[in-house]
Amino acid sequence: MKRVAALALMAVLVSRPGFAQFDLTGKWASRSGQDAQERGPGPDAVDYTGLPLSDEGRERALSLDYSLLSLPEGQCGYHTQFYIVLGPFGLHVWNEFDPVSARVVAWKIGGWVDRDVTTIWMDGRPHPSPNAPRTYSGFTTGRWEGDTLVTTTTHMKADMIRRNGAPVSDEAVLTMYFFRHGDLLTIRAVIDDPVYLAEPLVRSRVWALDRDGKLNLGNGVVSPCEPIAELPRADVTGLVPHHLPGQNPFVNEMTEKYNLPREAVLGGPETLYPEFRKKLKGYVPPVVCKRYCGCEGLGVPCFQDGSGVAR
């Protein structure tokens, strides 16, 4: 009996939150003070600013015709785990533990309407064979480095890294770093894709512990997504909507809207660094913001253009 009690005491000691460095469990509300257009209404059609696309990645992105999303197989599509730092939603995190040792076996981050549950295995299990099938959720393991949870995700399907077709391949590896400071949780995500990115893409996002449970978890959809045939020709002819190389009709849209040179709009690693601003010398912004100007919540429009539509 004493032996059992001693063993139980040890189990309790090793499983307490201190051993896990910090406790992730709970609901975390998004605190997005960045990327409002990208998270909300969505990016412009050909806006690859801030993306280290390779030439192949850029060509693939420019081939996207939005009608692709109207195909039955595109209507209920999921995103990969990188969407955690792209999407607008909160996080619901819990853990699963070994009933005997009480050690955390896995952290779980609840899914959204278009992202599967993230399971972060903490028990040291290996990743599957490189030839194993890909899924949207992929396969994730985690480890603690001091007070930082570091996760590695492999075996994800090909997806977009921006909702305008900027691609990521199924060879990509996602590494995430979880930092907690009081009630704030920051995740820095690094996606390394040898196919479509010339260098890893790094993004960060912040959440705050939600004590009153009012957060948007992005999974409040009552009925499941039901794809229908929106493009009858697709059923008949196998049409795949696309733009051929050099024929994307939106390639000049950002230049016309924001006076940006095409070189900047099309992204690439050189555009991410301060010295690229020298190539933008003499840039003249539009006179006034006319779209997605960020006055939601103020009760007044940012801009009215006479159309009766406040922007």
Binding site: Q21, R277, Y292, C293
Partner: protein
């Protein structure tokens, strides 16, 4: 001693460092003891050269956004009035080209950082964009009297893991709180912050699978006059091997 007692002793032994660490942490920053300076007790090495990698809000950071573009910032109506009246020519005439280079905005400006120790208790962060200097003061430092400045008065403390039992439990982070700010812009296009704004930052360090080292700064700007709620962002800087690309430039209002 019976095996049962041994087990209990072992369990307490395992738990003790956690308890001791927690007590040490409660005693305040600089847990290395009164004789140890902030410089001597660094849990993370921040000194060196670092560069902004602008993968987020590119159109709001790499170029000056149009007047009236407040996207991502939870402004008040009063802030909108100020922002709608933004006139860079006026700022130039008033020699206030550095209004968008104050501490609450500076780390979002595409820049390189040069981080060094000014003395044993002052960590210095310089930017080549706008040629600005921020000093982070550890310990019981009190700001000298005088007018508020673009970079304000910053107090700093190391934050360390709660326990050190695991061999991987090294590390920690830097917390910086900045007050006494001269009012300026959160963004180049005149989105304002007031002299009452308070900036809190958490600086974290991590290393990529490729071996690149990164600073991630979680930044919280609180300003009841111009913000409806705290403005929270996270910014990333990549380590550079040396200062070969260090390129000081003056502030620009446009």
């Amino acid at each position: 001693m019976s095996p049962h007692v041994l087990l209990v002793v072992a369990a307490i032994g395992l738990a003790w460092p956690t308890f001791a660490e927690a007590q040490g942490r409660a005693a305040g920053p600089g847990r290395g003891g009164a004789a140890q300076t902030a410089r001597a007790s660094v849990p993370i090495e921040l000194t060196g050269y670092w560069v902004s990698v602008v993968t987020q809000d590119w159109r709001w950071r790499m170029i000056t956004p149009p007047k009236g573009d407040y996207a991502s910032i939870p402004i008040t109506l009063e802030a909108k009035k100020v922002g709608d009246a933004w006139d860079p020519a006026k700022d130039e005439a008033a020699r206030e080209q550095c209004k968008a280079y104050g501490a609450p905005a500076l780390m979002a400006v595409p820049t390189r950082l040069r981080i060094s120790w000014a003395d044993d208790t002052t960590l210095r962060v310089e930017t080549d964009a706008g040629t600005q200097t921020r000093d982070f003061h550890f310990g019981d430092w009190k700001p000298a009297a005088g007018p508020p400045t673009w970079q304000g008065a910053s107090t700093a403390a190391w934050e360390r893991p709660r326990q050190a039992r695991s061999v991987t439990s090294a590390g920690g982070s830097l917390k910086v709180v900045t007050r006494r700010l001269r009012s300026g812009y959160l963004r180049k296009n005149g989105v304002p912050y007031s002299a009452d704004a308070v900036l809190t930052e958490h600086w974290d360090l991590s290393t990529d699978p490729r071996g690149d080292r990164w600073i991630t700064i979680t930044s919280i700007v609180e300003d009841t006059k111009y913000l409806r709620e705290p403005w929270v962002t996270a910014l990333n800087f990549k380590r550079e091997p040396d200062g070969a690309k260090w390129d000081p430039t003056p502030c620009s209002a446009r």
